[in-house]
Amino acid sequence: MRFEFNELQLELRQVVGAFLDGLNPTHTLLSPEKTDETKAWAQAAELGLLGLNAPEAVGGLAGGPVTVAALLEVMGNRHWSSPYLSTVAIGLDALSFSPDQRWVEAIVKGDLQVTLAVLEGRGSLALTDLESTVRGGQIFGRKNFVLHGGAADLFLVVAREAGGHLGLFAVEASAVGLTVCGEAAMDPGRPLATITFEGTPCQRLGGGDAVERILNRAQLYSAAESLGGAQACLDLAVSYAKDRHQFGRPIGSFQAIQHHCAEMLLQVESARSAVYAAAHAAEHEREETAMQIAMAQATASEAFFFCAGTCIQVLGGIAITWEHPVHLFFKRAQGSRTLWGDPSFQRRRFIALGGLDRPLAEAP
């Protein structure tokens, strides 16, 4: 029973951490507008990070969900605003279903960015109201809240096939009948888009199982990112509480501040347990994986939101300024909470997946 990354994973985490810290020595990575994302993406390709979970045959590292989650945690911790989650973590996974491996190769080289186009209408992840359809190899419909949609080269689209069953489809951004309408977002590092398909050619990647798998993985990786973000907020708060003096004492010696920080630690550590266990379940394709992911996403997104908000409270006035990075974490926390199934949605999902009926004492 080892709740710990292996050596390769630990090394990769260090590499990614150093890479992101080094992207901009003054940490203005935290101000997305100041970072050259194109250069960063190319560097990530050089480092081999864009083939993390690609087969070794195409130069990838063949990392499983634990490895991917381990790195997304670091990326969330450093607030990297790239489409790594959708392009690499999910894209490579989804495109492994494709007979044609061109896309996979392009991703690994850094030449192709992918995003998911799933949500419609109000954006419920329950997907019961999805109206996009595929008829004769062409896709019709409109997708909302597509992350980084304006810059993506390829969309992974969930739509209904004949019989109303859900399927997963790949659509190139350059295809005919496709309109992208970019939208500014509250989180400056996460622009959105609305994508309209009017008879756009698409390639089928899989059916309901593939959709379920991809969405579960996306929630898992988003939870891992949130875990990293939550830890960053805790660290910011603790370090400020040690340094900042008021009333002649470091504010971290006041119980009110101490207790805020203790509550943050409780949430961060709980999120860590939930995320790691879910990643482990996904890696071993355990039957309860989806339930574990619902738990992980509920716990980690709540922890991130709580820690970002509490960090603001501990920091006081400075945290309300644009110059201090904590607002970026706060905005991201709100986004991650809402875009990948908010906690109350995840609790409903947890019940539907048998969370109230399973025994407690299986192995974790």
Binding site: G309, I320, T338
Partner: protein
């Protein structure tokens, strides 16, 4: 128990409503609803003219004594004015810092000369004021101010930095708490100086906020000067005067603020009904709780007014700031949950939406003017008489 209004108060209320309704038409019509949160910088010059119009018609400084240029109206009538003003969407006030903070301070602690010089200009809307208290290293702990002033060539010369100064860029004057005795500590050796803003030694820098907009400023004093006579109270007595200033806010404006809250919550409720999430019992439950608490907040405020009027100590007054700040922050979170993923979308011009700004800026509500933590300690020590905490 009689919670209805007295006849004379109803009459006053009718008069206010009627006057505002008439005046906020025609030339002033376009000022309606402007200058609120995140719109502070709209139409400054016209709003100043509007305030002069208010002053000329004696709708400013309602609670000041008549000798000071006010109307000595009761707190209830002041409340009714604020409610009516908010209901009529009167433009965001610029003169309230002079009217509610500096004015009463001068009335109680100013020299006759200071009263004569400054009070009429506040009442008439010709002088605007800002408050120079907080500093980067003196936030919750105001006694840590480091801005210095010394007498040189027969005038005060100031050096230092203030922060979180609202409306500094539209103000003519600033009342500044600063250290005038070299080497003095904490509450000792501070003075309360009135400093003109339009001079080379004063630099104002807006603080870009979490919302991308600016409500506050940094103010730098670098050899800024003011007359010797512009010290309120004796030099060295600044702490007492500054604390008195904070005590003058009588809470009438909280009613106007509540009407803004009402409008925000109504928008959220309508959004929930439109996008269908009103059917979610969890959202309904949170909306109902938020509405109930807003109503309770208003009842609390009325009880506070009653206590103030009858000179009773007011436990309910002590909780007001903590209550509304926390409520508003929670409302901001509810707004985002109601909108769902759409909460992430900014406006087409890239600016944040009103509810996004409320969500973000309400995090400041629990920090400024005494953070939640400071408020709870004050409640414990002052309203409940618990022993002072170790500081």
């Amino acid at each position: 128990m009689d919670l209805s209004l007295q006849t004379e108060d109803r009459t006053f209320q009718d008069e206010v409503r009627e006057w505002l309704e008439e005046q906020l038409a025609g030339d002033w019509q376009h000022l309606r609803g402007r200058g609120g949160p995140s719109d502070e910088d709209a139409l400054i010059e016209e709003r100043k003219l509007w305030e002069q119009h208010l002053g000329a018609n004696r709708w400013t400084c309602l609670s000041w004594p008549q000798l000071a240029g006010g109307r000595a109206l009761s707190l209830v009538q002041e409340v009714l004015f604020h409610e009516a003003y908010a209901a009529a969407q009167g433009p965001g006030r610029l003169g309230h810092i002079g009217e509610t903070l500096l004015g009463p301070t001068l009335i109680h602690h100013g020299s006759d000369e200071q009263k004569g010089r400054f009070l009429p200009a506040i009442q008439q809307g010709t002088d605007y004021w800002c408050q120079g208290y907080s500093e980067p290293n003196a936030g919750s702990d105001l006694a840590g101010v480091q801005t210095r002033a010394e007498v040189r060539d027969g005038q005060w010369v100031l050096t230092g930095q203030k922060t979180w100064t609202s409306l500094a860029h539209v103000a003519d004057w600033c009342f500044v708490l600063c250290r005038t005795e070299l080497g003095s500590q904490r509450h000792q050796g501070l003075s309360y100086l009135l400093v003109p803003m339009d001079q080379p030694g004063v630099t104002i820098r807006p603080i870009k906020q979490i919302t991308g907009t600016s409500e506050f400023n940094e103010v730098f004093f670098d050899g800024a000067v003011t007359e010797l006579g512009h010290c309120v109270g004796a030099p060295g007595d600044g702490w007492a005067v500054a604390m008195a200033t904070l005590g003058f806010e009588r809470g009438a404006s909280t009613f106007g603020q509540q009407l803004n809250f009402f409008n925000e919550l109504q928008d959220i409720t309508n959004a929930a009904k439109q996008n269908g999430c009103f059917d979610d019992p969890l959202i309904q439950d949170r909306l109902a709780q938020s509405w109930m608490e807003l109503r309770v907040m208003r009842l609390n405020a009325w009880r506070m007014i009653h206590h103030l009027q009858t000179d009773q100590p007011s436990a309910v007054g002590a909780i007001n700031k903590l209550y509304w700040a926390r409520w508003h922050r929670k409302m901001g979170e509810l707004a985002m949950d109601v909108l769902g993923p759409a909460s992430q979308r900014a406006q087409t011009d890239g600016e944040l939406t009103r509810l996004q700004r409320v969500f973000l800026f309400s995090r400041a509500d629990t920090i400024y003017a005494g953070s939640n933590e400071i408020q709870k300690t004050l409640i414990a020590e002052r309203a409940l008489g618990l022993p002072r905490s170790a500081r």
